[in-house]
Symmetry: C2
Subunit: 457 residues, 2 copies
C-alpha cells in the first residue's frame, strides 16, 4: 500500500515527541550532562528545530542550562525570531567564543540584526581577517549576495597546474570546512574560472588548471538579490560560485547550501504573500502574528465594504427578488476561486522566469479561453440549479450569464494583475490576492444584480 | 534606490525576447547553422526554458531543424509535458544516440513515461551496465529515491588510504562528470561512510579514508519519497548521499542538484494544491489547463450552494431587513481570508516539519488567541461601519459578534483541517482551501443571519 509507505516516510525526519520530552525533562532536572548527551546525537539543524518548537520559557531555561556549550552552528540554523531571543539571553563572552569557529557567512547572519555596540563588541573578538570580512559583508544591502557569501575559499593563480593546486591544498593549514571548486584568479584578483575538485582528482599533475575549468563559468555580482542567486544555482546546477565587486574583483564565495535555503524561503515567501502574510513564521508570538496578519485583513475589510456598496446600489432589486441575496455568494465565490487559480500559476511562473514577454500574450489568451470554457460549463450547471430551485428560467439565465462574465474577468485579473505588478517593479505575489478577489467580487455582484435588474424586473 | 536595483536584477537570468526572436527567425529561415550558433552560448537549462516558452508549432519545427544535434541534457531539463511532446517528435535512432552520453538518472527521467515497446527499443542501445541500472531504477515507485538516484559514483573499500583513493581516481577512465564525495563501502557493498573530496585534498596520502569521513553520515532508503529526500538534503546540508536497498546494499547516489529541484517542485505543488490546481504547468494547453482547474471549481460550486442554502433559511429575515444582504459578504470574506492565512502557515509548517506533536497544542492556542484578538479589533471597526451606514446600533452589534465568531472559527479551521488531513495520511495542502472557506462561509452566514433573526426582528 503506497499510502502506508508515505505515512511512515513522513515521520522519518521529524523530531519524535519522545526526544522533545527527554530534552525538556533534562531541562526540568537541570542536568547539563543529560542535555549534552541528548544533543550529541542530533544534527545542529535538528537541535535548532527543537529550540524553535518548544515554548519560550522552556527555551530560555534550556539555553541557560546549555551555558557555554552553546553551539554556533545551531544558532546559525535558527529562524530570525528565535535567533535574536537566544542571542539576547546568551552572555557576550560565550558568543564571542562561539563565533571564532564559524564561517564568516554564519557570523554575518548571527550579528546582522544586533545593535551596533553589541555587534562591535562581538566582532572585536574575531581575528582581524575574519572581522574585516564580516564588517565588509554587513556593508552590503540586506538580502544580497554580499550578505550570503563567505570568505573561506580556495584560490589558485591562473598559471597553476593540477600538481601546484594539490601541493598547495595539502600544505595549507586552514582549508575551508567544505568546498567543491578551486577558484582560478588572474593577477588582478579577478576570477577567471572555477575547477571542480572531482576534475582535479581525475587529472594528471601536469595538466593546467584552466584546462579543467567549468565550461559554464558564472560569477555573482555582490549586489545581486539573494533571490536571483538562488535562481541561478538551481537553474545552472551550480554548487558554488565566486562573488565579485563591480570592478570584477573577487570578494567571496556562495555555496549551494545557502542557495538552497534561500530557494526554499522564497517559495515560502510567495506563498505567504499570496495569503496576505508578512514576515511571519511558526514560532512568532501572538502579538507578532497578529501584526503580520492585520494589514491584509484591513485591506480586505476595505475592499469587501466596496463590494457591499455595489450590492447596496441594488437594494430595491433584492427587495423585489430575495432569491438574489441567496444566490449572490455563488457567483462571487466561483469568480474568486477561478481568479486565485490563475493568480497562483502566474505568480509562480513569474518567480521561476517561465512567464516572459516571449510567451505572455499566448498565456493571456489561454487564460481567456480557459475562463470562457469553464465559465460556460459552470454557467449551464448553476443556471440549471437556479432554475430548479426558484422555478424561473430567467433567473437561471441571469445566473449563468453572470457566471460566464465573472469567470472571464477572473482569468484576466489573475494573470494581468501580477504581470502589471511585476512591470511596476513590485513583487507580483504582493497582495495580488486582494486585488483579484476585489475585482471578482465587484464584477460578480455587479453582473449578477445588474442583469437581474435589467432582465427580471 | 533599492527598488531600482531589484528591478534590474529581475531580468538578469530571464531569456531576452531578442534572443527568442532570433531563434524563431532561424527556425523560420530553416537555418540549422544559425540555430546551433544561438544555442552554443546558452546553458542547457535555458534552451529548455526557451523550448517551453515558444508555441507548440514553433517548437515542433525547431526540434525538426535541430535534427540529430538534439541535446540530451536539454531534454532532461524539460518539464514533463514538453518532454513527452519532443520525445514523440524525435526519431528513436537520434534518441538512442543521445541517451548514451547521459547519466542514468537523466535517462530514467526521459523514458519513465514512454510505453514499454519504445522504452525497450531505446534502452536496448545503451551499454549493458547502464541499461540494467536504468531498468532497475524504473522498477522503483514513481517519486522515490530509486527514481532520482544515478549509478555513476566513486566507491572505495573501507581499508583504503587517501593515497589509494587518489591513485584509483587518477587511473580511472570514466569518473562521473561531477561528484563531491567518495563513498566508502564494506566488503558486503554496504556504505559505511562518505568522504568529501575537499578533505581528501587536504590530507596526507597515508591517512585512512575513514578518518576523514563525514561525522554525520546518512544513507537514503531506496523507497524513500523524493519529498523526504529533498528535506534531508536541505536540513542536513548534504551535497550527495548514497541510496541503499532494504538489505543495506548500496544501489546508487543522489546529488544535490536533483534534491534542489525536488524541493522547488514540492513548494510549488503545495502552493498549487492550496489554490486547487492539479498537475498543471505553464506550458499546459487549454484543454489540460481546464481539466486541471475543473475539479476544484466543481467542489467549490457544491460548497457555495451549501452556503446559499444556509442563507435561504433566513429568507424572511432578509426580506424584513435588506441591509443584511448588503453586509453579508463582509463577514464571510473576512473569515475566508483569516482562515486562508492560518491555513497557509500550517500547511507550510507541516511540510517543513516545523509543526509537530511537540508544539501543535501551543500553535493551536496561538491561532485561537490571534483569531480572537483580530476578531475583536475588526468587530469594533465593522460594527462602527454598520452602525454609521444603517444608523442602527443593534445591526452594528450583530455584525461585530458575527465577525468575532467567524474569525475564531477561521483560525481553528485553518490549523485543525490540515493537521487532520496529515493524520489521515493525506497531503495537508490537498483541498484544504475548499474545506476552510466552506466552514467560514457557512459559519459566517449562519452567525450573522442567525444573530440578526434573534436580535433584530
Amino acid at each position: 500500500m503506497p499510502e502506508q509507505t508515505i505515512r511512515e516516510d513522513e515521520d522519518v525526519y521529524a523530531l519524535g515527541s519522545g526526544l522533545v520530552d527527554a530534552v525538556l525533562a533534562a531541562v526540568e532536572e537541570g542536568s547539563q550532562s543529560a542535555l549534552l548527551l541528548l544533543f550529541e546525537n542530533l544534527h545542529e539543524a535538528d537541535i535548532a528545530d527543537l529550540l524553535e518548537q518548544i515554548g519560550k520559557d522552556d527555551r530560555r531555561r534550556l539555553v541557560r542550562l546549555w551555558g557555554d556549550h552553546v553551539d554556533g552552528e545551531v544558532l546559525s540554523e535558527l529562524e530570525e525570531g528565535v535567533r535574536d531571543e537566544i542571542l539576547a539571553d546568551t552572555p557576550d563572552e560565550v558568543l564571542a567564543e562561539v563565533f571564532k569557529d564559524l564561517d564568516t557567512d554564519d557570523v554575518v547572519y548571527l550579528v546582522e540584526d544586533l545593535d551596533t555596540p553589541q555587534q562591535d563588541a562581538l566582532l572585536g573578538s574575531l581575528d582581524d581577517a575574519d572581522r574585516v570580512a564580516v564588517e565588509q559583508s554587513l556593508q552590503y544591502e540586506d538580502d544580497t549576495a554580499g550578505r550570503l557569501m563567505q570568505r573561506e575559499m580556495v584560490l589558485a593563480p591562473n598559471h597553476w597546474t593540477v600538481g601546484d593546486a594539490i601541493d598547495f591544498m595539502r600544505a595549507s593549514e586552514d582549508l575551508p570546512q567544505d568546498f567543491y571548486d578551486v577558484i582560478v584568479i588572474d593577477p588582478a584578483m579577478h576570477p577567471v574560472g572555477s575547477v571542480p575538485l572531482s576534475r582535479i582528482m581525475g587529472a594528471a599533475r601536469e595538466v593546467s588548471l584552466m584546462d579543467l575549468a567549468h565550461e559554464d563559468f558564472r560569477v555573482i555580482p555582490v549586489d545581486q538579490s539573494e533571490e536571483d542567486v538562488a535562481y541561478a544555482f538551481n537553474q545552472y546546477h551550480m554548487v558554488s560560485a565566486p562573488v565579485v565587486e563591480a570592478s570584477g574583483r573577487l570578494v567571496g564565495v556562495i555555496t549551494i547550501d545557502d542557495a538552497m535555503e534561500i530557494l526554499e524561503d522564497q517559495a515560502e515567501e510567495d506563498m505567504n504573500l499570496l495569503a496576505g502574510l508578512i514576515d511571519e513564521d511558526l514560532s512568532s508570538r501572538v502579538w507578532k502574528t497578529m501584526r503580520s496578519r492585520f494589514p491584509w485583513l484591513a485591506v480586505n475589510l476595505f475592499t469587501s465594504v466596496l463590494a457591499s456598496i455595489v450590492i447596496a446600489q441594488f437594494t430595491s432589486t433584492i427587495e423585489a427578488i430575495v432569491a438574489l441575496a441567496v444566490l449572490l455568494p455563488i457567483v462571487a465565490s466561483m469568480g474568486g476561486n477561478a481568479g486565485t487559480q490563475t493568480l497562483t500559476v502566474s505568480v509562480r511562473a513569474l518567480a521561476t522566469r517561465d512567464l516572459t514577454p516571449a510567451n505572455a500574450s499566448r498565456i493571456v489568451l489561454r487564460e481567456f479561453l480557459v475562463g470562457a470554457a469553464n465559465g460556460i460549463v459552470f454557467a449551464v450547471i448553476i443556471g440549471g440549479v437556479g432554475f430548479l430551485w426558484y422555478d424561473s428560467v430567467m433567473l437561471g439565465v441571469v445566473l449563468g450569464l453572470a457566471m460566464i462574465g465573472n469567470m472571464l474577468v477572473a482569468g484576466m485579473a489573475g494573470i494581468l494583475i501580477p504581470i502589471g505588478l511585476d512591470k511596476l517593479g513590485a513583487d507580483p505575489a504582493l497582495a495580488s490576492g486582494v486585488f483579484v478577489t476585489t475585482v471578482t467580487d465587484i464584477v460578480g455582484f455587479f453582473a449578477f444584480l445588474g442583469l437581474a435588474s435589467a432582465m427580471l424586473l
